[in-house]
């Protein structure tokens, strides 16, 4: 009761269905090309239009190649999907950030960056990592295609109200420990289903100390603990980030918005359905060894003896084995998890003065054109080039093997993305999830390496 989750959720309730779900009003719907075509077909079949087209933004990202975006997509099936989104947006009068334009890229990077995702909003998208937008102080969650159709048609969704969970992380993070490590640590502790049925509020001094980029990474991974979403109450860090962004309120609207946003916090008397507290000092750089994101450990740890044999067989690993020193074939920096400017700064800080290891293929993929431009402005691209790395064009890239960037069967990648499921980065690919710092350390040594070796 009286949690921030209650405040936001309750202020969006249109009606309560007796012995049923809540009819919840949605402030922002994002559509990408993979999970929306069948929803638009549904509207056509029913002969209806979008109720509130101005609240809906579309952009392709999953199929987007990370090279030659000015040319048509080579894969005809992927091209058809991207073209279908453009056609649907035009037909239904929706804003569309087309591939090849500077507005386009990963929804979960672009939405916050453009000031489209704001505190106090309800935000949905047919994508489980919609939880990312929770970093803005919003209730944001992934939905299925039928639910996308509901929102297109009625700007509402029918949902059971989730329970509330407080995850507090108190104290200071140690050097070399990032928001990604916090998330991997939480998944190790809570498992991939530990927060199922809950909406998480991240709290505590270590969370408040995170930059917006860090909070976006942390909230992004809420779904990997099973939570529908996770958010951080908005504060000065949030307001500072939003101010002046393209779609952010301006002038008097800005003052009114901030005044409202300042009311968005959990009361001292807030009662959560579940509360956990962790000490930031207990968290070390983390890495996964298995086939779900909960199968993680401190980077210098040993694979637990009770690890499922199916996962070990897939990964080509043995229980009790350490991962430090394990050869790495690919390194992927990017995705909606770690494709932001801070991630590129972190990666560069480690590789500066070193060279990419021979035999490692490294894909460095900004999450948006804004990130891409900022990398250039800050001269990070020059430093990365000097170390043997190249920046690719923005997109979802090797996170999920729907574009050209796929990890070959049997190869090992250290990846800053969000999932290490079997085949996630390409059929037979083997993924170690880790932070940008750990990815950078692997990229220059060619093996799993503790990033603290490279941090002053």
């Amino acid at each position: 009761m009286n949690t921030l989750f209650d405040k936001i959720w309750d202020s969006h309730v249109v009606s309560l269905i007796e012995d049923g779900p809540t009819q919840l009003y949605i402030d922002r719907l994002y559509c990408h090309e993979v999970t929306s075509p069948q929803a638009f077909d549904g509207l056509r079949a029913r002969g209806i239009k979008c109720l509130r087209p101005e609240k809906i933004f579309c952009m392709p990202d999953h199929n987007t190649p990370t090279h030659d975006q000015d040319k048509p997509i080579e894969d005809p099936v992927g091209k058809k999907q991207v073209d279908a989104l453009a056609a649907n947006a035009a037909e239904f009068g929706l804003k569309h950030f087309a591939m090849g334009t500077h507005d386009n890229c990963i929804i979960h990077v672009v939405g916050p960056e453009k000031g489209l995702s704001l505190p106090g909003m309800t935000i949905v998208c047919g994508d489980s990592h919609t939880s990312t937008h929770g970093a803005m102080g919003a209730v944001a969650f992934g939905i299925g295609t039928s639910e996308v159709e509901m929102v297109l048609a009625s700007q509402c969704i029918l949902q059971q109200k989730p329970k509330s969970m407080s995850i507090r992380i108190e104290g200071e993070l140690r050097p070399g420990v990032t928001a990604k490590d916090i998330a991997l640590y939480l998944m190790m502790k809570l498992t991939t289903s530990g927060a199922t049925g809950y909406f998480v509020e991240y709290r505590g001094s270590a969370v408040k100390a995170l930059s917006m980029e860090g909070r976006l990474t942390l909230c992004n991974l809420s779904i990997e603990m099973g939570a529908r979403g996770g958010f951080v109450a908005p504060d000065e860090t949030t307001f500072e980030y939003i101010k002046g962004r393209e779609y952010a309120p301006k002038g008097e609207d800005w003052d009114n918005a901030v005044a409202y946003w300042k009311t968005l916090y959990s009361g001292d008397d807030a009662v959560f359905d579940c509360e956990v507290v962790y000490d930031a000092a207990d968290i070390t750089p983390m890495i996964t060894y298995g086939t779900n994101p909960g199968m993680g450990m401190p980077i210098d740890g040993s694979i637990p003896m009770d690890t499922a044999q199916k996962a070990l067989d897939y990964m080509g690993l043995e229980a009790g084995e350490k991962l430090l020193g394990h050869p790495v074939d690919y390194v992927f920096l990017g995705a909606c998890t770690n494709g932001r400017i801070e991630d590129f700064r972190a990666f560069t800080s480690v590789v500066r003065g070193h060279q990419k290891a021979e035999g490692v293929t490294a894909w460095l993929v900004p999450g948006s054109w804004m990130v891409y431009d900022q990398i250039k402005e800050e001269g990070l691209d020059k430093e990365l080039e000097a170390a043997g790395f190249a920046i690719r064009q923005p997109g979802c890239s090797a996170c999920l093997a729907m574009n050209d960037d796929k990890i070959p069967a049997g190869k090992y990648s250290v990846s800053t993305s969000n999932r290490n499921f079997e085949g996630r980065q390409g059929p037979g690919s083997r993924t170690f999830l880790a932070s940008p710092l750990t990815a950078a350390a692997a990229a220059i040594t060619g093996k799993v390496t503790d990033p603290r070796e490279f941090i002053q």
Partner: protein
């Protein structure tokens, strides 16, 4: 039109694995379809577990074993029984389309991931949550008698292992139960709510 739910009594296909994620249920490369062709998705359900890279059936996967390879039909293999935390990961509804497309009408597990559970319900596949004990006993009954049947009584909200006689109540809210039993979907409902939506908007 989807079939209305009432009582389903069927043999089952067991998948005693935990944390089966939606990337396994339907790998990402099948997400490029722009239509809702359930047969296409059903044909590719668990594709990388069912088939090797040359498209040959993997004999060790349960769907390809003699006791379980028959296609679902009335009373036959309409129920998938899976380990806990079924459907975790990606929100892709294609996973629910694949399960429905294969011919399953019910999935039994001790725990479902949230988004996938909603996706199943929105595609007229009923997720039935049972206790760990019930699930363990059910896997063991199927192992000794692959022809055994489970009875899922939607009006009574009960699930029964017809060999051991063990019965459990399962939860489903009254609204969804009504939708399943009458083959109605949420969009039909929401489209009737326009006045309420406009009234809500005018208060903001």
């Amino acid at each position: 039109m989807k079939a209305k739910f009432n009582i389903i009594e069927s043999t089952c296909i067991p998948l005693p694995l935990e944390n089966v994620d939606t990337d396994q249920i339907i790998p990402a490369r099948f997400l490029k379809a722009t239509t809702r062709d359930e047969k296409f998705f059903g044909d590719n359900l668990f594709c990388d577990w069912r088939y090797d890279k040359d498209g040959q059936a993997k004999k060790d996967f349960v769907f390809n074993q003699p006791d379980f390879c028959a296609a679902p039909a009335e009373g036959v293999h309409q129920i998938l029984v899976a380990g806990k935390n079924f459907g975790s990961g990606s929100s892709r509804e294609h996973a629910a389309w694949a399960i429905a497309g294969y011919g399953f009408r019910v999935v039994i597990s001790s725990f479902f991931a949230d988004i996938h559970k909603n996706n199943e319900l929105n595609n007229f596949v009923l997720p039935v949550v049972v206790s760990e004990d019930f699930l363990a006993e059910l896997f063991s009954t199927i192992a000794s008698d692959p022809q055994m049947k489970v009875k899922v009584d939607v009006p009574a909200q009960t699930v029964t292992n017809t060999v051991t006689g063990r019965e459990e109540h399962f939860d489903i809210n009254g609204y969804k139960k009504y939708c399943l039993m009458n083959a109605l979907d949420d969009i039909d409902y929401l489209l009737e709510q326009k006045t309420k939506i406009e009234a809500f908007e005018s208060t903001r």
